[in-house]
């Protein structure tokens, strides 16, 4: 619902696309500032680990900062490199899974890989191989991860359970099996089993060069896969049925996407742990969604946020030994997410609030102007539609009380709308009463005309009862595009702007008056008659 609403509002409010770039760069700058300030604040806030002497602590911190920021440590370099590449790749893949509403697939998957790891370990033990050989364990993890995905898809497609239940079942049952197997492994050879724990919690800080290389290679494969299959995957995300109808192998594509998710997850899992892996798959993609409506931009944003979050998180944890790097990366990513959610230039909370406020203001102004016009019409009831009468109408002033009685708005809201209209020189206030300016009068006439054209359309073509059209037209009048007005004119056989305003088909509306009495109104024209009948009369 929000999507539809906001996109419509976006279209309505006519937000100029010209200032998008400016806003984007402003947002980026803010983001960078926030991250830096957060880092610095944390640095200040935390008591130094070596509290023996203040000055030595400072010294130590200074050198540490230098060493870490310039990445002088071989270890830091590897960790940062590894998580950065991983963050980028999982951001890319995560965008696809997010758009396919499978954000938690990574969660289920990473849990589902545990029994595979355990079985691979046991199998290696039985056949006398090296239990801790990484590729072998990864093969096991991938196999059981893929099995998990397959089971999820089968449950979702073949039973009446929904995706969430399928995810939950696979996640818990597979993980339970894994834990049970680990219970057995721990009895096999106590020394050997210890390494398996790393798959659950990760060991980001102790990542080795071989791990980083593995991550880099897998990530590159996945990134290449995403880019090569970009068009197909995009179609899959947005309109699976259409993709199928166009002859794309939907199931194969889906399997391909899921394989990429499995690859990234499994490789990342052993390097950075379960929770971080889930976070990297979900958070950057979800954050990127706030900044853009374009698929490739979203992927770019997600990759950038994933990489950036990983680097900043890794650096922060390298700077302060007490902070686990995996958790810090998640926290930095969620900070990014929060900032994006607030400041996102496309779907951010603030921008949407602003859009809604603008729309509401515009609607209030239009209501005010039309109310004015209708009041003028009422008070100049006897005059016919000559130019003279037009001018005479414009000079009449309308009191606040009368305006207030026109529709159900609070005095506060009305006076705000009046204030803004005065600022825009559409209204003037004289002795507590409102008067339209020339520009205001033209605008009010245009709005009233739009409103009535729609009412006439509803009566003539949609068979809506005369008494009901006012409220319907009230909703739609704010969003009528000029082309629609043109079409309405054609349809209703009305002249263009030569006649400013056609007669109201239901006569003037009083505040509390029952709409039913319109037919007996003095104006006489009131109209159930087809509108084109009296169109000649205006000429």
């Amino acid at each position: 619902m929000w999507h539809a609403k906001t996109s419509r509002m976006n279209a309505l409010a006519g937000i100029a696309s010209g200032d998008r770039g400016v806003r984007l760069s402003r947002g980026l700058l803010l983001l960078a500032l926030l991250t830096v300030s957060a880092t610095v604040c944390h640095a200040r806030g935390r008591p130094s680990p070596d509290a023996s002497s203040q000055s030595s602590a400072f010294q130590w911190t200074d050198t540490q900062w230098g060493r870490v920021l310039l990445m002088k440590d071989y270890n830091t370099r590897i960790v940062i490199f590894g998580v950065a590449v991983l963050g980028g790749a999982s951001g890319l893949v995560g965008s696809f899974t997010l758009l396919r509403k499978r954000a938690l697939m990574g969660d289920a998957l990473s849990h589902a890989s545990l029994p595979g790891i355990a079985i691979a370990f046991i199998a290696a033990n039985w056949f006398g191989g090296d239990e801790k050989s990484l590729p072998w364990l990864l093969v096991g993890a991938t196999a059981s991860g893929l099995l998990g995905v397959a089971v999820i898809l089968v449950i979702r497609n073949q039973t009446r359970l929904k995706e969430d239940a399928a995810l939950g079942i696979v996640l818990s049952v597979f993980f339970g099996a894994g834990v049970a197997l680990l219970g057995v492994i721990q009895q096999m050879d106590t020394g050997h089993a210890a390494g398996l724990e790393g798959f659950i919690y990760g060991k980001t800080a102790s990542m080795r060069a071989a791990d980083a290389r593995l991550i880099a290679v897998t990530s590159l494969i996945v990134i290449a896969g995403c880019l090569v299959l970009f068009k197909e995957l995009k179609l899959l995300c947005f309109d699976e049925g259409f993709a199928g109808a166009q002859g794309f192998p939907v199931i194969a594509l889906d399997a391909g996407l899921m394989t990429m998710v499995v690859l990234v997850t499994i490789v990342g899992l052993q390097a950075v742990g379960l929770v971080l892996m889930i976070a990297l798959l979900v958070i950057p993609a979800a954050a990127a969604r706030f900044w853009t409506e374009t698929m490739w931009r979203m992927m770019l944003w997600a990759a950038l946020l994933g990489t950036g979050g990983s680097i900043v998180g890794g650096l922060v944890s390298a700077l302060f030994p007490g902070l686990p790097s995996g958790a810090m990366i998640v926290l930095v990513c969620s900070l990014f997410f929060f900032v994006s959610m607030m400041l996102g230039t496309r779907r951010g909370v603030i921008i949407r609030l602003i859009r809604r406020m603008r729309l509401n203001r515009r609607i209030d102004r239009q209501h005010l102007l039309r109310a004015m016009y209708e009041q003028l019409e009422k008070s100049s009831g006897g005059l016919d539609d000559s130019g003279l009468a037009e001018r005479a109408k414009r000079r009449i002033s309308v009191s606040l009380g009368k305006l207030l009685s026109m529709r159900s708005w609070s005095r506060r809201r009305l006076s705000r709308a009046i204030e803004r209209a005065v600022e825009d020189e559409l209204l003037r206030i004289q002795d507590g009463a409102c008067k339209l300016t020339q520009a205001g009068f033209t605008e009010a006439a245009r709005l009233t005309r739009q409103h009535r054209l729609w009412e006439m359309y509803l009566i003539a073509y949609a068979d809506v009862a005369t008494a009901n059209v006012d409220r319907d037209a009230d909703k739609i009048e704010h969003v009528l595009a000029p082309e629609v007005i043109d079409q309405l004119e054609d349809l209703l056989d009305e002249q263009g702007m030569t006649i400013p305003v056609p007669q109201s088909p239901h006569g003037p509306l009083g505040s509390g008056e029952a709409i039913g009495v319109l037919g007996t109104d003095a104006e006489g024209h009131a109209g159930v008659e087809p509108p084109h009948d009296d169109s000649g009369g205006h000429q």
Partner: protein, 451 residues
């Protein structure tokens, strides 16, 4: 105590080759069963509301609440820890809802954002205070059900494991909640809009449920580990959902399945590794596996929604239709006085595979509707009558479709081909009456009489 007679029965019936200690294993099963029942009571509504993953999210997310409570009280078994975890669990639900509503993010993703962030926060707090507090995240998340009988409190002069007491209370609270608000829960789960118009606040029901889910999750995983909580929230309820369409029955079945999986899980944990020469393994993992096995059974063999059952039913229907088609086409052949066809030719004509043709013919021969003449197929008297009925249905339908429904003559064959299998005597008579007892169908072929 729910599981005890059953376990005793299993112990007598099956020589499982492991030792059963009532003081220990009995309590483990009771605690596992209580945790399973407490979770699955609420799990039904999570599954129906499509919020299954919330259990998973909450069990991860409560870590900071526990960590902070630890920091403040320095003990593991304090009510403060409980309160902290429940507060954070509720926050998870609130944040998820907020990100979903205000940010327009899909529910799964918003859950993912919230629980990973909170978990990371909890981890940082824990690591930061590692020297101050003796707390192993391992233990918090994967609590060990095997050790629960050792931590006892005295209830009415008897030593009862603390976990059993806590879980019994939670189970009773959950059961009361489900019983008292059954109508409201049912309405808000199936039709939130209707519930709102009828004056029930689905929002309040939602948050009430969330509070209890958090309480249950914390109470359970403190004693039995988080995997078991997630499994028990979802799996028995999902299995029950495969077995019935009635909510009350579904809850009852899920509770029964939860108890069975607790008992079965512990037995498996003791026995399966023993077969391979190891000592027992983790009970909570095995309970999850047992629940998974029960779900698999229900999902495949469930009488109405089981995958296998549905498959078999579909196969039987297609076999019946193939039999109809064979008989009808043999009848049409006789009508045109053609030579009786061979089985192979007929299979090609009806687009039937070799095996399904074989099965259908076997069925027809057994019913005595088709007889073999050398290698050609011929209708018996019984078969001819059935063929006549089918062809009559087919042609009456064609006539009706053209006559009454105004369909074009070129499209009616396929429709009539579908309807003919489900048309009985009464319907045929009705059709004949509607179309003024025609003698010919729109293609000019005679409509046979009712035999």
């Amino acid at each position: 105590m729910t599981g005890e007679p059953f376990v005793a029965w299993i112990g007598q019936m099956l020589p499982l080759g492991f030792s059963w200690n009532w003081g220990l294993d009995g309590w483990i099963v009771v605690i596992g069963g209580l945790a399973a029942v407490a979770s699955s009571l609420l799990g039904n509504f999570l599954v129906l509301r499509k919020m299954s993953m919330l259990g998973d999210a909450i069990t991860h997310a409560v870590l900071p609440g526990i960590a902070v409570a630890f920091l403040l009280t320095q003990t593991r078994s304090s009510p403060a820890m409980f309160v902290g975890a429940v507060i954070v669990g509720l926050l998870t639900a609130v944040f998820t809802e907020w990100i979903r509503g205000a940010g327009g993010v899909d529910e799964g993703a918003s859950m993912g954002v919230v629980f990973t962030s909170l978990f990371a926060l909890g981890l940082v707090i824990l690591v930061q205070t590692a020297d101050a507090v003796d707390l192993d995240p391992n233990c918090v998340l994967y609590g060990s059900i095997e050790l629960t009988p050792l931590d006892t409190v005295s209830v009415g002069g008897r030593d009862v494991p603390r976990a059993a007491v806590v879980l019994a209370v939670v189970t009773v609270v959950n059961a009361l909640f489900v019983l008292l608000f059954f109508k409201e829960l049912r309405l808000t789960s199936f039709d939130p809009a209707l519930a709102t118009t009828m004056g029930f606040s689905s929002k309040w029901m939602h948050y009430g449920l969330m509070i209890l889910v958090s309480v249950t999750a914390v109470a359970c995983f403190e004693s039995v580990g988080s995997i078991l909580v997630v499994a028990m929230f979802i799996v028995p309820a999902a299995a029950a959902y495969m077995l019935t369409d009635r909510l009350g029955l579904m809850i009852a079945i899920s509770v029964a399945l939860a108890i069975v999986s607790a008992v079965l899980g512990h037995v498996l944990a003791l026995s399966v590794p023993a077969w391979m020469g190891y000592r027992s393994t983790t009970t909570s993992g095995m309970i999850a596996v047992a629940a998974g096995g029960l779900f698999f059974t229900a999902a495949t063999l469930g009488p109405r929604h089981g995958v296998l059952v549905k498959l078999v039913r579909r196969q039987l229907l297609s076999l019946r239709i193939l039999c109809d088609d064979i008989v009808a086409s043999l009848f049409r052949g006789e009508e045109l006085e053609q030579q009786p066809p061979t089985a192979t030719w007929l299979a090609g004509e009806l687009f039937a595979s070799h095996w399904s043709m074989k099965a259908a013919l076997a069925m027809l021969r057994r019913r005595g509707e088709v007889a073999d003449q050398h290698d050609r197929l011929q209708l018996t008297h019984v078969g001819r009558e059935r063929g006549q009925r089918l062809v009559r249905s087919h042609r009456l339908w064609e006539q009706y479709l053209v006559d009454r429904a105004g369909s074009g003559a070129e499209r009616i064959h396929d429709q009539a081909e579908r309807f003919e299998h489900f048309t009985d005597r009464n319907l045929r008579d009705e059709l004949a009456k509607e179309t003024d007892t025609p003698v010919e169908d729109p293609h000019g072929r005679p409509i046979p009489d009712e035999s």
